[in-house]
């Protein structure tokens, strides 16, 4: 049963037994995680060499908005590093003996719980840290450990629970409903464009197994139709599995344990369908979780293709017939952190947009240095902190969009779309429309006389 805990700005499910003795449990979890994962190597380096130069402060949109020193990435990371130093290094142990060093208390954990969910783990600060300290990694780890003592925003845990022990996906869509939706979308496409685009379901041996953010089935049918249309015109071999058709992985936001379980379900579904590749829909964190698949499945994990990459390759290979007329409105592109920060997917969407748009403008800064939408790290689904998300975290983003003058913002990420819509609503940008990339691609595809199917 959900109840507002009052301690945090978000709702937390408190389970009996976890409430007492939290510091001890936290440290136990810390010990276990250090033993069985690889965070130790980074923590050790960070705990040793942090320069405390505050360069990260200048790159953090949260600190820029609030001006509260507590929001400086380095200081936030120090919350966890201090625990690490105190309990897991010889120097810390010695200092604790010699001086009255700090000890881990409930209040301290509460402070961590609040701070680490203010951070969206966008990892923009890593770029400016002279020592390459990955504050996103620290946030990731801290949330993992906090989750082990029960500090998880309810919104996140509910999603995962739905996925792992509920219907099987975060939006609780039963397979039958999925089939219905797909048929509906097929009809829709037929109706609008007059082409017979298939949504192949449970086709064994398809090259790509499709994992979109499952919310797209409910909220973003255009994106899905765009995806299907691209597959249709390029003749791609793909399928949607009824066993698991959800690319969302909220484990990435609070627990490696959950992430592992979800990723293993993805792996199992691909194996069941004898697919060869994981095709991720337009979603940042789903793509990043998929990229992490080898961590959980080992070296024989299926390769991952993001839909943006697929479409771009098709375009570059000339397999994507486009109409002559381009989209006239001024549009801009928002780089989802999870796709762009490491420099992995930045150029592909731009190339596509240039092909279909008449008035494409860049935000500044962009690509790897783009600001986060403000709802990263899963915070977008925590509705009770909407004011914080849109007014503080999203302020910088709203300014950016305003500066471009674009009326159309392309955000190839389910979370970003939701967050950006709210940001625009709350920051007086009601006339700005947030769309997915494939929504636009769909409009521009030239299905032609052959029904669009490319000569094979």
């Amino acid at each position: 049963m959900a109840q507002p805990s009052g301690k945090y700005s978000y709702y937390v499910e408190s389970r009996a037994g976890d409430v007492s003795d939290r510091p001890r449990k936290f440290l136990e979890a810390f010990a276990a995680v250090l033993e069985h994962s690889s965070y130790g190597i980074a923590l050790d380096a960070y705990a040793r060499v942090g320069a405390k130069c505050s360069r990260c402060a200048a790159s953090c949109q949260l600190y820029e908005a609030t001006g509260d020193p507590e929001d400086i990435p380095c200081l936030r990371s120090e919350l966890l590093l201090r625990v690490y130093r105190r309990y897991f290094t010889y120097g810390g142990m010695l200092r604790a003996r010699l001086f009255a060093d700090f000890s881990l208390t409930d209040e301290y954990l509460d402070r961590m719980g609040e701070q680490f969910y203010r951070c969206t783990a966008c990892r923009r600060c890593k770029l400016t840290c002279p020592f390459g300290v990955d504050h996103g990694l620290v946030t990731h780890l801290a949330r993992y450990l906090l989750a082990e003592v029960g500090v998880i925003p309810k919104a996140l845990v509910v999603s995962v629970r739905e996925q792992l022990s509920g219907v099987g996906n975060t939006s609780a869509i039963p397979p039958a409903a999925l089939r219905d939706t797909c048929e509906f979308l097929q009809d829709e496409l037929k109706e609008t464009y007059g082409v017979d685009v298939k949504f192949p379901i449970d086709v064994e041996g398809a090259e790509h197994v499709f994992f979109p953010a499952v919310s797209d089935y409910l909220l973003e049918p255009d994106t899905l139709m765009g995806n299907a249309a691209v597959m249709h015109v390029t003749g791609g071999s793909w399928t949607i599995g009824t066993g698991n058709f959800d690319g969302i992985n909220y484990g990435l936001f609070y627990s490696d344990r959950m992430m592992e379980r979800i990723c293993k379900r993805v792996g199992a579904e691909v194996r069941r369908l004898k697919g060869r590749k994981v095709l991720v829909g337009e979603c940042g964190h789903a793509t990043r979780s998929a990229w992490l698949l080898p961590n959980f499945l080992g070296a024989d994990a299926p390769p991952v293709v993001a839909f943006l990459q697929y479409t771009y390759r098709a375009l570059a290979a000339g397999k994507l017939p486009l109409k002559r007329e381009k989209i006239p409105e001024r549009l801009t592109y928002h780089d989802p952190c999870n796709l762009a920060r490491a420099g992995k997917i930045t150029e592909e969407p731009r190339e596509i947009l240039k092909a279909i748009s008449a008035d494409f403008v860049e935000m500044t800064p962009n690509r790897t240095e783009n600001y986060c939408c403000g709802g990263g790290g899963g915070t977008v689904s925590i509705d009770e902190i909407r004011a914080f998300r849109t007014k503080k975290m999203g302020k910088r983003k709203a300014d950016q969009i305003r500066a471009t003058g674009a009326k159309l913002v392309v955000a190839p990420c389910a979370n970003c779309k939701k967050q950006l819509k709210e940001v625009c609503e709350d920051n007086g940008l009601e006339d700005v429309r947030i769309v997915g990339l494939h929504d636009l691609v769909l409009k521009c595809i030239d299905f032609g006389s052959t029904g669009g199917r490319h000569a094979e």
Binding site: E28, L34, Y87, F88, Y90
Partner: protein, 723 residues
């Protein structure tokens, strides 16, 4: 328990760090730089401890093996594995220690290639080598038991080894008997050096008997120690039996030792009030008499403290016995005693520490102790289960009681490597200069200069002179203010500035009091007034300070003057630097002979003697300057004169045989055949330590061989053009 083990291992790694650094130094710099060994003490701590005591301390292996395997005392089987492991590591430590002690350790296998079977050492070496192999084979089944080594070939070897256990054990016992006793036989060849209280033709019997007792004592102490370390209960009743056996062996040893003395008629010597007699009784008491009597008492035997204490007495006493034979009672000159350098001790301790690290490693990974004796699995620490680590969190709940944890794969390496680094750093900091920079020629010991008041005489147009009030003017000439040189210090005048002192030279009635440094580096009474300003000026102004003061040369104990004026203290018979300085006008003359106003005034930069002394080597001179003499110094007085006279004598005798007596060129012809002692002009050079020992302390004015200082008179410089 785990903490105790961790703490111990940390200390052991620290000691291993010390060992590691000393290893580098030992092999880079040699024995002289690292040990206190001398030609009269060629065997020191390493032989006495690492080899003599090490072998004896490892005697537990063969004693227990005999008890269990030969005499069928199954009850003691639990002691067999640790005892054999201890023995194996002990012998390995002996071998490693030997590598440090041997001058040419890479020749350690030469005894196999070039056996010399008349040498006791050869027998010892062969036995130790073979026994090390036997011990390895005896112990290897414990290794081969390991679950990860269950490969077909290894399993077959394991079975084969099990079959030959008894032959191996018997071979081990025979070899041990041989070399344990032969370690004593090593000293049979030195009847004139080993004190009669220790020297005995049957010393090898004594060594063997004591080794058996020591072996038993080692098993007892080792059991108690590992029980303390790994937190299991020692088997006290069995150990008490071993103690009783040790006591009987010890009584036998005492009887043999005293009986031997009596038989050789040396018993009376033990009762004389000499240091050696006292040492003899102390050693015998601690090593044998006292523990033997104690262990005869059931009350002592049944108490852990009593048993362990008695065993410890035996161990320390028997080590003492080996030290006495090898070092203390072994004759060497009284003025050249031997006391080990800290590095020798640290290397030995480090080797023991390394052996203990290996021991703990084996205990943690193999079934050295029967499993039921270990209440908790020591392997758990490395087993990787977090739960076992979390057991350190056994305190009651609450954040204050959360004890620190160390997890992750790097936790142990992190701790022990820090200890290692710390140990190595400490060791290098304690190294003497010789070990760091190599053995160097002893330099003149230096005392710090003293500041005192002198007078600067005003001078118009010519450089000022520094004067000790009341003393003669120290000559200055030519180039600027000069440091003044005193023939002998005048203690009674130091520090007194008397204005208008009538002793002032040159008609001056007063000088400007200034402070100057009085350098008397080796306190031999010949001092230099150091004019600091002059040096600053000549060396290039303020920034030149670094040239002298920034010779912050670690470990430089010699005169800082000497680092530029490198040859100022060199002893030479004919060339009297001092005399030249005096004759040529004090320090002003430096540049007269040495090149350049700046830079070091070394011999390398000096003019050759015959540059001035043109008549020294005339065209037909009979003086034959020795070309490239062995020591490279100036020709000594004796050589010079001998070169003058003797070469001519020899030449003439050869030229006119029969005309002149054959003995014309003999020393006795000139020096007096009947009193050769007359030839001794002067004692040869003695190092300062020896000089001090003979009452010729360098802090006293050196007995002058020069006579009173001559007034500076005109010095005729041969063909040198007049200036």
């Amino acid at each position: 328990m785990t903490r105790r083990l961790t703490a111990l291992k940390t200390v052991l790694w620290l000691l291993a760090g010390v060992l590691g650094l000393l290893t580098v130094v030992r092999f880079l710099r040699g024995l002289g730089a690292t040990t206190a060994l001398t030609d009269t003490a060629p065997w020191g701590f390493w032989i006495a401890f690492d080899v003599m005591s090490g072998v004896a301390l490892a005697a537990g292996g063969f004693v227990v093996a005999a008890t269990v395997y030969i005499f069928g005392r199954e009850r003691y089987r639990a002691f067999a594995r640790p005892a054999i492991l201890t023995a194996f590591l002990g012998y390995a430590a002996v071998a490693v220690g030997l590598l440090y002690d041997l001058g040419l350790p890479w020749h350690i296998l030469n005894p196999v290639a070039h056996p010399q079977h008349h040498s006791v050492l050869f027998e010892v070496a062969m036995c130790v080598m073979l026994y090390l192999t036997v011990l390895f084979l005896e112990f290897s089944p414990v290794i081969l038991e390991h679950p990860r080594l269950q490969r077909p070939l290894l399993v077959r070897i394991h079975h084969a080894l099990k079959k030959v256990t008894i032959p191996l054990v018997i071979a081990g016992i025979v070899l041990s008997t041989l070399h344990q006793s032969s370690l004593g036989s090593l000293f049979l060849i030195a009847p004139y050096r080993l004190h009669p209280l220790w020297y005995s033709p049957y010393i090898w019997v004594l060594f063997f008997t004591s080794a058996v007792a020591l072996g038993l004592a080692m098993v007892i102490s080792e059991s108690f120690f590992s029980a303390w370390l790994f937190g299991h209960k020692p088997r006290r009743e069995l150990l008490a039996n071993l103690g009783r056996a040790a006591s009987f062996v010890l009584l036998l040893y005492v009887a043999l030792r005293l009986g031997d003395l009596a038989a050789r008629g040396q018993l009376a010597r033990a009762l004389e009030p000499t240091g050696h007699a006292a040492l003899f009784w102390l050693e015998l008491g601690v090593s044998a008499l006292l523990p033997a009597l104690l262990l005869q008492l059931p009350r002592v035997r049944s108490a852990s403290g009593g048993l362990f204490g008695s065993a410890a007495l035996i161990v320390f006493g028997m080590i003492g016995y080996r030290f006495d034979v090898c070092i203390v009672a072994f004759a060497r000159p009284e003025d050249m005693p031997y006391f080990p350098s800290w590095m020798e001790i640290a290397v030995s301790v480090g080797i023991v520490a390394a052996a203990m690290i290996v021991f703990v490693f084996f205990v943690e990974h193999l079934r050295v102790y029967p499993p039921e004796r270990l209440p908790s699995d020591p392997c758990a620490e490395r087993a990787g289960t977090v739960n076992s680590r979390l057991s350190t969190l056994d305190a009651p709940p609450g954040p204050e009681t959360v004890r620190p944890l160390l997890v992750g794969p790097a936790a142990a390496p992190r701790r022990y490597s820090l200890a290692l680094v710390l140990g190595a750093s400490l060791a290098v900091a304690l190294l003497p200069a010789t070990a760091l920079f190599g053995e160097q020629v002893q330099r003149t010991p230096v005392a710090a200069p003293r500041m005192l008041d002198v007078l600067r005489l005003p001078a118009s147009g010519r450089p000022a002179a520094l004067v000790l009030p009341g003393d003669l003017e120290l000559r200055t000439a030519g180039l600027g203010p000069r440091p003044a040189l005193l023939a002998a210090s005048r203690p009674e005048r130091r520090g007194s500035v008397a204005e208008g002192d009538p002793g002032l030279p040159g008609g001056h009635t007063q000088g400007e009091p200034v402070r100057a440094l009085l350098l008397d580096a080796d306190r031999d009474g010949r001092t230099v007034l150091f004019a600091h300003d002059a040096h600053v000026e000549r060396a290039g102004g303020e920034t030149s300070c670094g040239r002298c003061h920034h010779q912050n040369l670690p470990f430089d104990r010699a005169s800082s003057c000497g680092s530029c004026h490198a040859d100022m203290f060199l002893v030479s018979d004919t060339f009297r630097h001092q005399r030249h300085v005096e004759r040529l006008g004090g320090n002003a003359s430096c540049t007269g002979c040495h090149d350049g106003a700046e830079g070091a005034k070394t011999r390398a930069k000096a003019r050759a003697c015959d540059d001035c002394h043109r008549d020294m080597v005339v065209a037909d001179s009979v003086v034959a300057p020795r070309a490239g003499g062995l020591d490279g110094h100036a020709v000594g007085y004796m050589d010079a004169v001998h070169g003058l006279c003797v070469s001519c004598h020899e030449r003439e005798v050869a030229a006119r045989p029969g005309e002149l007596p054959d003995t014309l060129a003999d020393c006795g012809t000139c020096h007096g055949r009947e009193d050769p002692g007359r030839l001794r002009r002067q004692g040869p050079y003695l190092p300062h330590s020896a000089r001090r020992a003979q009452g010729l302390s360098t802090l006293d004015p050196r007995p002058s061989t020069r006579g009173p200082r001559a007034a500076p008179g005109p010095y005729r410089v041969g063909a040198r053009p007049a200036e």
